[in-house]
């Protein structure tokens, strides 16, 4: 399963709920305001780092760039563009958008 999260972890519990339901081997793609969860040195960095032991975490590059945070991405998070988003959606049998 590819999970997408588009909410800032500072405002909503969306990422937390997503990670609680993402099974090992699934992928989590952070998009839109969700990319704020991809950053190092935040109150949520540890949660994301721990999750990466079980799931692959990706962040959408254009959303990082737009928000001026591309240089603060946590180690281990893979940055993809929209084509990479499509590849992930193909790779996984279904996509779940955590809205």
């Amino acid at each position: 399963m590819l999970h997408t999260v588009n909410k800032s972890p500072f405002e909503r519990n969306t990422l937390k709920t997503c990670l609680a339901h993402a099974k090992p081997g699934s992928a989590v793609l952070l998009i839109e305001d969700g990319v704020y969860a991809a950053l190092s040195g935040t109150a949520h960095s540890d949660m994301v780092t721990q999750a990466m032991a079980q799931v692959s975490v990706y962040a959408l590059g254009p959303d990082l760039d737009a928000r001026g945070v591309a240089n603060r991405v946590l180690n281990g998070i893979k940055v993809v563009d929209y084509a990479g988003f499509v590849d992930l959606a193909i790779e996984h049998p279904a996509t779940q958008s955590w809205l």
Partner: protein, 125 residues
């Protein structure tokens, strides 16, 4: 009315938002009702504030909005009987199964994750 051509997929409707404050819960329910006509394997998941869609005693007179909560009880008549509610979300809100207006299966986080993982189509609201 279905033109599914005999294909049966597993559809899950994931509800994580409370009713009335936004329209998502109501319009999600409208999709669920339509999906019944397509003979698919439909299930509904209620997590986080989505569990508030199912609480008893909703009365919307003062809002002049439609109280759509009785519709959840009608789903059985459409052969939509798989309603899964997250135990943790109920507990966080001080709710139990007795507070809900329809028969549901209360599931753990791990069980919900398993159910989600086996779906073909997940529509979230």
């Amino acid at each position: 009315m279905s033109d599914a051509g005999g294909v049966v997929k597993k559809f899950m409707f994931v509800n994580r938002k409370a009713p009335y404050g936004t329209v998502y819960a109501l319009e999600s329910l409208e999709v669920v009702l339509i999906s019944a006509a397509f003979d698919q394997d439909v299930s509904l998941a209620f997590l986080d504030d989505g569990v508030y869609e199912l609480t008893k005693g909703q009365s919307t007179k003062g809002l002049e909005m439609k109280n759509f909560s009785p519709t959840y009880r009608a789903l059985e008549g459409y052969d939509i009987e798989k309603l899964y509610v997250a135990r943790e979300s109920l507990e966080e809100r001080g709710l139990s199964e007795d507070d809900l207006l329809v028969d549901v299966q209360v599931v753990s986080c791990a069980e919900m994750a398993d159910l989600m993982a086996e779906q073909d189509v997940v529509l979230s609201f």
